[in-house]
Structures are given as C-alpha cells and as structure tokens.
Symmetry: C2
C-alpha cells in the first residue's frame, strides 16, 4: 500500500500525518512543488507588516521533521504535471513517475488575476507563498513606495492593506464587486469601509481592473500593487485525470473526501466541502477547513472510514485592531440559499462600561418559518472570535433562536456584560420569528 | 391584577421589567430592603481594587428610572418581614401591608458566616452590597492595613484577594474545603493556587475558621478580613409562607419558576434552577441566571406562559489577568452525578506563537458510554470566556465529543491558532470515548 499526496501545506500534510497515525507501516510520500512546506499562509500579511520578523517563523514543520518523526517522505520542488490514474501514477516535471495506490489531491488554489494585464511588472506582488511575502517586504524596504494599491477586498486583500498602511503607505483597495470579504452583506461592507477609511485606507467597490500601469491602477497612483483577487482552485491536474468538479469549479467529493475516482481523495483549497447549514456542497477555502478535511481524506486514503460532516463558513479577519467575524449566511446569502431570512442587529458593550467595554456589533440571521439560526456577524475590538464561535457551534447544532437566547454564557466584568451581546441580539431576533 | 416583587437587584428587576413588557397596564411594585437597587454586585471587587472609581458607576438603574420609564413602583428601604399568602399580602417592617395577586420572591442570598465568631469587629467586612464595598474601601484608605485575610475561595473570595493584593497588602485566602471556586476539581484548584501564589497571595485549603481575632485569623496575621464564605439563599420568608425548598436548601420551582404555591414565583440567588446537563434541579447562584430566570418568573407572574430550560453552570473569574472559566461538571462532579466521566486536558497556544499567543489550558469532560460532553474548563490570559462559551453552547445542544471536534471555529493569527485549543482537547478526548 502506498499513499501519495500532492501538496505540502495544510490539507496535504494533515492528510499524510493522519494516514500515518492510522497505519504505521503505510508508505507515504508528499510532493510539494514549492521550496518549503507547512507554512502559515495566513501569517504572510503579518510578515509584510513587520510584526513577524522572520519568514521562517511562519514555517511550522520541515521536511526533515516529517521524515524523521513521522516517517513520511516529503519532496519539495516536486511539481506534478500529470496524474495517470489508470496506471495509478503521477508524472513529475522532470519526467519521473511516482506510483500510488491511493492519492490525495491537495493542490490548493492560486490568485489567478486572469484578465489583468501588467501583473509581471516588478512592483506587482501576490501574497500567496513565503517567497511572495519576502519579495514584497524587500521591495518595501528598498524602494520605499509611497502609494499602494490592493486589488481585491477579500481576507488577504484587507490584511495586506492593513499591513501596507502600517508601513506608512497611502493605500487604496479596489474591489470588483460591491461586497468585501466574499460575503454579500451591505452592513458588513459598510463596517469594513468605515474601519478602513478611519485608518486612512480608501476602499473603492465596483472597480474592475483591466490593467496595471507602471505608476497607477484604475487611475489611482500606485508604486506598489498587491493582487489579491481571483482566487481559483488548482484543479487542472485533477480534471485531466478525470476528476469531476462541483458547481463552484472546485473538486467535488463525497463526505469521505473521495472524488468520483475510486482511491482518489481531495481536500483543501482545491476542493468543495459540505455546508452544514444547507447540507449542500460549498467552496470556502480556508486553512481550518483544509486541515479538517485533509485529516479525513488521509484517514480514508489509508483505509479508514471517516466522514467529514462539513463546515458552517466561520471566519474572522482583523482590520486595524477590530475583528470582523462571520459564520453561516448573511441575509442576502440566506435568501439565495432558499431561506426566508429575518435578522436583528444590535450594538452593545463587550464588557460593563465601568470595566472598559468597547462597542460590539452582533447580527443574527434566522429562517423565519423554523426559527433556526442560519448565520451571524460579530464586529468588535475584543471577544469577536469567541462570540462568532458560539454562533458557529449553534449552527452546527441547528439551534433555534429561542434556544440560543437561553444559552448560559460566562459572565464576569473583566470578560463580558451580564447580558452578553449575543443574547441581546437573540432577544431582538426572537421577536421577528413569531 | 397586581404584581409584587420582593428584591430589587438582578432577578427582581428582570421580573418586573419583563412583566411590564407583557402587560402594559399591570400594577407592578418592587420592594427592596436596601437603599439602592440594580447594582452590579459582581463589580464590587473592582471598586475595592480601585479600578472602578465611583460606587455609583456600578448602579445600572435608579428607582426613578423604573418609575418614569417603566411605570414600575420601586420602593427602597422596604423590608418585608412576612408573606401572608392566604391573604395575598406581605407585611413590611413598619407594619404596612401590601396586597398582591401574584408574587415574585427574589430575596437573593447572603454571606452567612455562621459559626464564625468575631464578625462584628470593625476590621471585618463582607462584599455583598455597595455599602459593604464602600466601607471596605474607606477602611483601606484610612487604616492602611498591611495584612489581609479572605475567608472563602469562591468567586468573590478570590476576586477580593486580587483586589486587596493590588492595594499592596499581603493576602492569605483561607478555604474550608479542599477546592476553590465551589468546584470539586483538583486541577482547577492547583491552577488557581499557582496563579494566586505567583502573585503573592497565599491559599490555604482545609482551614475552617472558628473565630476572627482582633489581629489574626486561624493564626494568620490580619488587620483586615473579608468574609466571603457560607453563601446561603434567603429563604426564611418563603419557608414561613409555606414555600417548599429543594434539596439544595434553595427554593424549588418548576420550569415556569413557580413555587409550590400557585401565583408565587421565585428566581435569582434564592432559587434553584434546572441543570440542562442532568435535567435535575441545581443551586448555582449567579447574576446571569438571576436575570434569565427572573424574566421567566416575571412573564409568568404577568399571566404569560414561558419556561426556563435551565443552565449548564457556566462561570468565569479573572485572577491577576488570567481567566478561569468552567461549565458543566468536573470529572469528580460528573461522577457524583452518575456519569462515567472521561477527560482530556491539553495546553496549547491561544494564538500562533509568531503572533504572541499565550498558553491556554483546556479540559473537556465527557460521558464515556454516550460520548456526550458534560463539562469543561478553560484557563488563559486571552480567549477563555469565548472558549468556555463554545463548550457551554455544546452542553446546551447535548453535543458529543466527535461532533464537537468538527466545529468550524474562526481562525486568523490575531485571534486563534489554526487548530483551536478546544479542538485539540476534543481530539484527545475522542480517543478515550471509544
């Protein structure tokens, strides 16, 4: 039995490690096209910012670690150019062929930026790999650019804007759609806009970029440009091998993370997962999902029988010290998914005012007919991550608003007010669910 | 229809306000024995510490507010000395009789300190009312005591120790039992001890105090003493009126917060509530529970039909900057409740180390046979409240460990690591549940 994993970041390494746990004798090989493995891609903006001093601090494990401690062969610089599934082998760029009995495709995603001309200029960067971040940081130090443009207002985009601004640049974010953070949610967009603009970052929505000029983008002066738009799953290898895609364009899998090809699994930013709120496939590429789905893929690729129940779409991003956290669906998204959404939005203090609480916004979204919670948003300086996670747990449990309202949450002045903002929002929303 | 509420702090005022919402014309009177209403008793230690400057900052509402804005008559200094239920009236200390059709008993609790001699000396304080806190703070300012002893290592006890220590005193906490924070949990006690002692506060467990001497307590030098032990529900009025108590000694109610007497409700620190994990009555007097149960009592006293599903026993206390949070049962408590508990305890970083994460301890307790979570503990400098609340939500939802392990929790370096400590603990615990 031999397991081959394509991709050495979150999903791929989770799969390999989990397979090893289940089968101490399985032959496991991980092929990574880049020079390093196991890096926290989500940490790159903090390296650009300067908060993280050394890029190597973002690397969690080395190939040597996997070789020695896990007996997993990890090969870097090993780019796969084809999967020949009938023969159960992959072809490397150099011509070498590697056999497998089971295969985990964890090829990740890329910032495609397709349709944008001029991305090959020296002042244009992506923020996807450690080398990307090192090149950008070196450029900031050497060229001392004054005006930065970020294309795309997704997570990496707003984090990059925050990082550039903290380096003293004037920063403009250009976003093709009307929404930020990949969520159709005017309230969230307005809140993010307010936070960016009150820290000197301009946000322009509805601006599609056709070309990056040497000194400007869409009319905005720019001597450094970060392209953080057009996130696309790397599925070409899989498609050529006969792997089917879902409607999102990412690889379709069952709840064991197996593709339509027997013995071929997929996980991470290249694959769909089940959305627990709708019980339908979704493409929400995040590191946490990659790790969880990767584990399940690895377990099953090693002969186990595990299932991945799926995600509820929880995420958080920090913008100039405020957390913007979401889970499940916004009102607009819930409607598109077939719910009849009702929502309540409240502003309350994160802690008693006498203990220095700050204003926290909570929005809860429920399905009017069933009263079931289907989403939420929390925005605040402190406690946003904890609060969104409580909503996430409620979504997993298919909790109704009236049940959520009764949650016995922790109270003590240094941590929260007597009525947690979550419960105040639930009390409001309950009135709309009758 | 006339509603009378005895007690003007958390439960009583929640009941009155909720009753008003349901019935705009109901005659509602609140009788409070003390001089002020609606104060955050949980904030008293922070006033003693000096962080909260003015005691009045702890007062949320005034009687005038209730009179004007809610049309609720609030009488302070109105001590009830008897409930004459057959006549449906209460007797005040001054002899006055007040009629009711429905009654909410929210008489709270007290620090009984029964069996301790010498509590009437000038250097001995309680920390139950605003006057208690003001007297203690004045004493600290005027007498400049050097050695403080706190009797009782419950929430108020450890918070008082923290507050005294921050005022420069040498502090010793004496606790009769072997446990702190009212929880049979050696791990928690060890962690609290370590935190107290590393900040110069001595903790002595298993020390029963018979008498407070003028300059010492149980052999420990003491020129100021805070009695925070022997918390007892104020049930005497209720008992004399024929209200039955539960096994805990607090007032027994049904899930509508009604006592055995028709039309007489009880809520707050004088009453039991349902424990969701066991579905049995429990006495866990906390402000959050008082508010929630008070609302239900008020709604039903006003003719509504609401039920209070109950609590899971969530609480948190801050000790020198670290949050100690618990919910559900410890291993020892779970065993006493008839479960066959298994547990896992892990230590992990609250955020990636490159982003300044600090060590967080998570313990999860489950029932071996069913795999159902029955309790948890989180100890950490940041994120403890949010994390305990996720466990609390899981207890409400009767979640199993394998379900909890799959929770889609928010991740971003400023807020949490890729694998949240909660999920790492669940992965560990799952191994014991098979």
């Amino acid at each position: 039995m031999a397991l081959l994993v394509i991709g050495g970041v979150a999903a791929g390494l989770s799969a390999a490690a989990r397979a090893r746990r289940l089968d101490p004798r399985l032959e496991i090989t991980v092929l990574e096209k880049g020079p390093v493995i196991s890096y926290g891609a989500c940490g790159l903006p903090y390296f650009v910012e300067g908060r993280v001093r050394e890029a190597r601090d973002l690397i969690v494990y080395t190939p040597e670690y996997f070789r020695k401690e896990r007996k997993i062969e990890v090969r870097t610089g090993a780019r796969v150019i084809a999967i020949a599934h009938p023969k159960r082998e992959v072809v490397l760029e150099a011509g070498e062929r590697v056999r497998y009995e089971s295969l985990v495709i964890a090829t990740g995603a890329r910032t495609a930026a397709s349709g944008i001309a001029g991305t090959e200029q020296p002042q244009v960067f992506r923020l996807h790999t450690i080398e990307d971040a090192e090149r950008l940081r070196a450029f900031l130090g050497e060229k001392k650019p004054k005006n930065g443009v970020v294309i795309g207002a997704g997570y990496i985009g707003v984090e990059a804007a925050d990082a550039l601004r903290r380096n003293g640049l004037r920063v403009t974010v250009l976003e093709r759609s009307q929404d930020v953070l990949l969520r159709r949610d005017p309230m969230l967009t307005a809140a993010v806009r307010h936070q960016l603009e009150s820290h000197g970052v301009e946000l322009r929505c509805g601006v599609g970029v056709g070309a990056i000029e040497p000194d400007r983008v869409a009319g905005v002066p720019a001597d450094v440009v970060v392209v953080a738009a057009g996130f696309k799953p790397n599925v070409e290898l899989a498609v050529e091998a006969g792997v089917e895609l879902g409607r999102s364009g990412a690889i379709r899998t069952d709840d064991r993370m197996e593709t339509n090809l027997r013995g071929v699994f997929a996980a991470g930013d290249c694959a769909e997962v089940n959305h627990v709120v709708t019980n339908r496939p979704a493409f929400l590429p995040l590191g946490t999902t990659a790790n969880k789905a990767g584990r399940v893929a690895g377990a099953n690729a090693a002969g186990g029988r595990e299932r991945f129940p799926g995600i509820v779409g929880t995420s958080i991003v920090g913008i100039f010290g405020v957390g913007f956290a979401t889970t499940g669906f916004s009102v607009e998204q819930a409607r598109a998914e077939g719910f009849s959404p009702v929502s309540a939005r409240i502003e309350a203090y994160s802690r008693p005012r006498y203990y220095g609480g700050t204003k926290t916004t909570v929005e809860l979204v429920a399905d009017r007919a069933s009263g079931r919670l289907v989403g939420g948003t929390v925005i605040g300086e402190d406690g946003a991550a904890g609060r969104i996670n409580v909503i996430a747990a409620a979504l997993h449990a298919r909790m109704r608003v009236d049940e959520f309202e009764e949650l016995d949450l922790a109270y003590s002045p240094p941590f929260s007010p007597t009525w947690d903002p979550l419960l105040i929002a639930a009390q409001q929303l309950k009135k709309s669910c009758r």
